[in-house]
């Protein structure tokens, strides 16, 4: 059995409002899944629940990750066990240098795996290499984390962290939104290059154009907190042309 991420009959409420509704989702190792759904359907809520943000009540159901009950783990434990969330709206942390933050994150992860902190020289090399690929200038690494970054700069920075932390499961919450055409291509192709048989992607997006660059194995249509239909990439094309109307009325 190839048990990776298994969500079963999951229902979640936020402040007495049910947002996730009897959701089932099974992602195997090495797979890329895409979720498409209208605004407010609960996609970010699902990402947050998987990453362990507080304030959500699990009414029912279970989430297993690599054979473990994910819900019982702290957010940092989930992160260190290989779950990465590229945030839809990355938060600003004043006074904390971008590069220091990334190193702190990597070292937490290494500590969890019983490794010493990465040597500053090795780290610098790694960061330089990855930021070059993503077109992130060096001075942005020295700036305070996300402070004054444009929407696109924030997204690129999320992609940089993804590259450096190299997680087992990366959840991309609308990472493509807010990027201009060139940035979009760079980020999409970079993310696509992280694909391997060992890690999986859960890509949340509104746009087929992303799925043209990161070819998903399965596309899910997500309405009112549950998956109403799953299929191949052709589903994404249908959404692009006709919207969610057919599904909303289903």
């Amino acid at each position: 059995m190839n048990n990776f991420l298994k969500i079963q009959n999951l229902s979640v409420k936020v402040e007495n409002k049910k947002i996730i509704n009897d959701l089932n989702l099974d992602i195997k190792k090495g797979e890329v899944h895409a979720i498409m759904g209208p605004n407010g359907s609960g996609k970010s809520t699902l990402s947050n629940v998987l990453a362990g943000k507080s304030g959500y009540t699990i009414i029912e159901g279970s989430v297993d990750f690599c054979g473990e009950d994910l819900i019982s783990l702290e957010p940092n434990e989930r992160a260190n066990k290989g779950i990465f969330l590229a945030f839809q709206y990355p938060v600003e942390i004043p006074g904390v240098t971008n590069i220091n933050f990334i190193k702190t994150a990597l070292d937490s992860n290494r500590k969890f795996r019983g490794l010493d902190p990465i040597k500053p020289g090795d780290f610098l090399k790694l960061v330089k290499e990855k930021s070059e690929i993503l077109g992130i200038p060096e001075d942005r690494l020295k700036r305070q984390l996300n402070v004054g970054f444009s929407g696109g700069e924030k997204k690129r920075n999320e992609a940089l962290q993804l590259m450096i932390l190299n997680p087992l499961l990366a959840i991309l919450d609308e990472t493509d939104s807010g990027l201009d055409v060139d940035a979009f291509k760079i980020v999409a192709d970079t993310i696509n290059s992280t694909r391997s048989n060992d890690n999986s992607l859960l890509v949340i997006t509104h746009y087929q154009r992303l799925l043209e660059r990161i070819k998903p194995d399965i596309v899910h249509i997500f309405i009112d907190g549950s998956i109403v239909e799953s299929g191949g990439p052709e589903l994404a094309a249908e959404i692009e042309n006709n919207g969610f109307e057919r599904f909303a009325n289903a």
């Binding site: 942390i93 006074g95 932390l165």
Partner: protein, 482 residues
């Protein structure tokens, strides 16, 4: 654990008069309580010249007519000034046998701060021969300082060896009559540090009281005097990050800085006196008067402080900008946790022309604590072209703590430019979650965010102090998010 040495207990001092301490000059401590005889005892003990005794007695008489200030936000049960020792309390009864007798929580903190064992013993008040590396390091430093003519010694030594300097400068910045606590200090001060930098000399190293371990036990009524003569420079470090065990509840230190023409003094403090337990029991009351006088033109005084300790902090390091073109700075981080109360800030008094001052205050409150910034910017009518910039930021970690910013601005010169910015924020769930999502646990996340919040001030500390201070911030805030 008895030995044949006679140990003194508090019972021996129930009635000082019965004991007849005046004839007991040989003993190491004055009896409990405060009166002229106790002051004579202290002065005598130190072989002070009569002018200094008179100075103390004047202060004492003045003190008797004063009342404790009540304008600040701190609240505490009234202090019984007769229920204290003003010169070396009988220590032996307080000494511990070994680190095994020390509160394990305190030891844990020492370990987290990476303090070597020997120093832990000293800090915790274990009876050891207090000889460890830093003392000998201290002597080596002294030799080096001598070459440049820098004087760095205990206050008592300075009274003996440099009476002219003391006479000229003592009380010249903080007059004996200044305030209730400084006046008390003037009457009973025990010891402290003295620094003199000759004209044109740039002090070749950071001066740190930490190297003067022999000043142990003088923390209660410390007296510090730093004089930077023309065109000289000195950076002075005070305190240490370790929570120091101290049997005295009341602390009332006085620090006076004098910067002559073209001189610069940088005074950095990291203070972590015992703050009391989680329920607010115990802890040091810290009533400090710190003031710097930019006496000469083009002089500069800069205060940087990181305060995490004490049950009560009442402290306003100030600058008198007397010389033309002089400048004053105040950079402060004040952390309050549990039931700690902080009322702290600064005073910038602009007297000369083209004087400038800059205030950056970062208050972090958590638990049930209260944290008040209180600052005065005053511009004299004759002070032309003066400017001030003030920024006060408060960060709250819990719902049950409080933070206040109280700026007083008195501008009597319409040309002056005074800017004030204040923010108050809670540590956000979003920030915490973001850090945790990247693998940091909650405490690491809080520590990272708080250190970021304090960055502007931490940068002002000398390098090695800054590293220690960062660690201290993390340790002080442990278990504080709720």
């Amino acid at each position: 654990m008895s030995d044949n040495q006679e140990k003194l207990s508090e019972n021996d001092f129930k009635d000082p008069y019965e004991f007849g301490f005046e004839t007991d000059i040989e003993s190491d401590f004055a009896p409990k309580g405060l009166n002229e005889d106790v002051i004579r005892f202290i002065s005598n003990k130190k072989n002070e010249p009569s002018w200094l005794l008179d100075w103390r007695l004047d202060a004492y008489k003045r003190w008797l007519t004063m009342t404790e200030p009540d304008w600040s936000s701190v609240r505490y049960p009234s202090i019984d000034y007769q229920d204290s020792y003003y010169y070396s309390a009988p220590k032996d009864s307080e000494k511990l046998e070994s680190l095994d007798d020390v509160d394990p929580k305190l030891l844990e903190t020492y370990n987290k701060l990476g303090i070597p064992l020997k120093e832990q013993e000293w800090l915790a008040g274990v009876a050891v021969d207090a000889v460890f590396d830093s003392v000998s390091v201290g002597t080596t430093f002294k030799e080096r300082l001598k070459e440049d003519g820098v004087i760095f010694c205990s206050f008592s030594e300075a009274v003996k060896d440099y009476p002219e300097l003391i006479k000229k400068y003592l009380g010249s910045v903080v007059p004996t009559t200044d305030n209730y606590f400084s006046t008390l200090n003037s009457a009973v001060f025990s010891d402290g540090s003295f620094v003199y930098i000759p004209p044109g000399v740039r002090c070749p190293m950071e001066l740190s009281t930490y190297f003067r371990i022999n000043a142990a036990g003088t923390g209660q009524f410390e007296r510090t005097l730093v004089i930077a003569d023309k065109d000289s420079y000195v950076s002075y470090l005070e305190g240490c990050t370790a929570p120091m065990r101290d049997e005295h509840q009341l602390h009332a230190a006085v620090v006076e800085l004098v910067a002559l023409e073209g001189a610069e003094i940088k005074y950095s403090t990291v203070q972590n006196w015992y703050p009391g337990d989680e329920n607010g029991k115990g802890g040091v009351y810290n009533f400090v008067t710190k003031r710097g006088d930019c006496r000469g033109d083009n002089s500069k005084i800069s205060w940087t402080q990181v305060e995490t300790g004490s049950a009560i902090t009442w402290k306003y390091p100030s600058c008198i900008l007397r010389g033309n073109n002089s400048s004053g700075e105040f950079y402060s981080i004040a952390v309050s946790n549990n039931y700690q109360q902080v009322d702290s800030g600064t005073k910038m008094i602009h007297l000369g022309n083209n004087t400038s001052s800059r205030i950056i205050s970062k208050g972090i409150s958590t638990g049930n604590s209260s944290n008040t910034y209180r600052g005065l910017v005053s511009v004299h009518p004759k002070s032309k072209n003066s400017r001030n910039f003030t920024q006060c930021d408060s960060l709250l970690l819990t719902d049950s703590c409080s933070a206040n910013t109280i700026p007083y601005i008195e501008s009597k010169n319409y040309e002056s430019i005074i800017e004030h910015e204040a923010t108050s924020s809670k540590i956000s769930e979003e920030q915490l979650f973001y850090c945790q999502q990247r693998g940091l646990d909650e405490e690491e996340a809080v520590s990272l965010i708080v250190n970021g919040f304090c960055k502007d001030v931490l940068q002002k500390l000398p390098m090695e102090f800054a590293v220690e201070a960062q660690k201290l911030l993390s340790v002080s805030l442990e278990g504080s998010v709720g």
